[in-house]
Symmetry: C2
Subunit: 301 residues, 2 copies
């Protein structure tokens, strides 16, 4: 699993400060999470193949998280896209996008599906053989969801040497991978455990932005391999965080600690701070494994 | 009068290729013309003081001409803008912008005025003591207007030496500037012509994008000091120009020649062309004084 931070700054895009967008490579999918203004230019700089992006998850309808979406949808059309595109986001997102396409007389030639959300509980929004994506209901000034991306348990790994010794043929492999035992030509049962290794433990990634401190999300994202949790402020601006329904670095770390995640990525920094190391220091008072999001930074999870 | 090309490329914003936006400084006004995605970042790079922009003219509702508008409006709000903002553009633009502000629960604290257009004839959209702005009805796939910015004739310039010789006092100056004659203390009439010089001839700028070749605009923009006319294509793609309702460099030059403008700026180049000098060469077959728009290029008019 690989996470690319396309932008991680709050409020307004500036030179060397892109607003929120992330690209998650997970089990062959390339998922775009939020889409601030200018995301399409950043994706081009990164050399991302546009057709690979088939699912876009929008957390909420504040500009720094989705003003780049209509431009991306239009550019896909201009470049002759054929692949379907699925947009997940708050109720209203379909009206915004379709109104603009209508007035521009620019309907997409590819299929564009909107999955509008208004649930207040976590729901599964995407589910296939390899991964599952659920919403993480957050607490912000407008209706907002984070997203939890979970790999499913993969098939068992063949122990090639043992398989050879027990006379396993190619046609038997799928049964072994699915956990079945093996009966050899002499009629003896060889247990699956003798012929396979456990699959790699599934990984997961939780994206939580924007939100006030909200303990309710802990059971939803528990044991995530990696958590991105917004930290717009430091604790000296706790009042501002409460007023604007954002979090401090310390609060993000408390969520990370309670959810017992593997690591915490901080981001969505307010423009008022110069030195971001203070965010790490504050977070590490409650949780050790802390990283700073930076535009164009890649995390191998 | 000074024109800054913020972006001049067609279709999609890319690295080193911004979509359409221009900044016209005219008689103390700073007018923004079109507003492609990422315009706010370009304005910041140029160090433009946002509060000075009080009028934004949008030609049409294709993304490469206005997807940066909602972000700019939002950023103005976040930065605590107090000055009024006037938006001129096709009917529908108010609905697009207000829908997004409503769903983001982010009404602007400053006054936001929409001047929606649906006229098919040229109309005056702005008029004060110093300048006048009219629409230039164009012919594109959606309803589109260019804009014609005209300085008004300024006041007469005082001939300081003559004024001194004839005993003109400071309190008489405004009358002289407005063209009145002067009566000296001896009761003699001194004609205005003896005491003043002609004002500088007023300048004008015509912005015409996007459009098919349309001769009807010639009388509207006649004698413009400078004309920007789109040239998406070269003449070898005349069929494409007709089909997509764009112009070739040659057609732009024919309009410039017929309107007897002072100079022609070409822009809105299709991505398919590498060498832009071919645009100049083609245009100069009918009009000599041709310039190429480039992102961040400044024209002193």
């Amino acid at each position: 699993m690989q996470l690319t931070i396309i932008g991680c700054h709050a409020a307004t895009p500036r030179k060397n400060a892109q607003t929120t967008a992330q690209l998650l490579e997970i089990k062959g999918h390339l998922m775009l999470i939020d889409c601030g203004e200018g995301t399409q230019m950043q994706l081009r700089k990164l050399g991302v193949k546009f057709a690979r992006i088939q699912h876009i998850f929008i957390s909420h309808l504040h500009g720094d998280h989705f003003y780049g979406l209509i431009g991306l949808i239009s550019t896909f059309r201009l470049l002759g896209r054929e692949a379907d595109l699925h947009i997940y986001g708050p109720k209203g997102i379909k009206e915004i996008i379709t109104l603009q396409l209508k007035l521009a007389k620019s309907w997409t030639d590819y299929a564009l599906y909107f999955h509008e959300l208004d649930h207040t509980e976590s729901v599964v929004v995407f589910d296939d053989e390899k991964i599952k994506v659920s919403t993480v209901p957050l607490d912000h000034r407008v209706y907002t969801n984070g997203y939890f991306f979970e790999e499913k348990v993969g098939s068992r790994k063949i122990n090639s040497e043992a398989a050879k010794n027990h006379g396993v043929e190619v046609c038997d492999m799928e049964n072994l991978k699915s956990g079945k035992d093996f009966i050899n030509t002499a009629g003896e049962l060889i247990s699956n455990a003798q012929l396979t290794f456990d699959p790699e433990p599934p990984k997961s990634y939780a994206f939580c932005s924007d939100t006030a401190y909200k303990e309710d999300i802990v059971p939803i994202i528990a044991n995530a391999t990696m958590l991105y949790h917004e930290s717009t402020f430091l604790k000296n601006h706790l009042d501002l965080a409460a007023k604007t329904k954002h979090s401090t670095a310390g609060q993000a770390a408390q969520i990370a600690a309670k959810a017992q995640v593997g690591g915490l990525i901080l981001g969505h920094y307010s423009t008022r701070y110069g030195d971001l190391n203070a965010f790490v220091a504050e977070a590490q008072e409650s949780f050790q494994n802390v990283y700073l999001a930076e535009d164009n930074k890649v995390f191998d999870i």
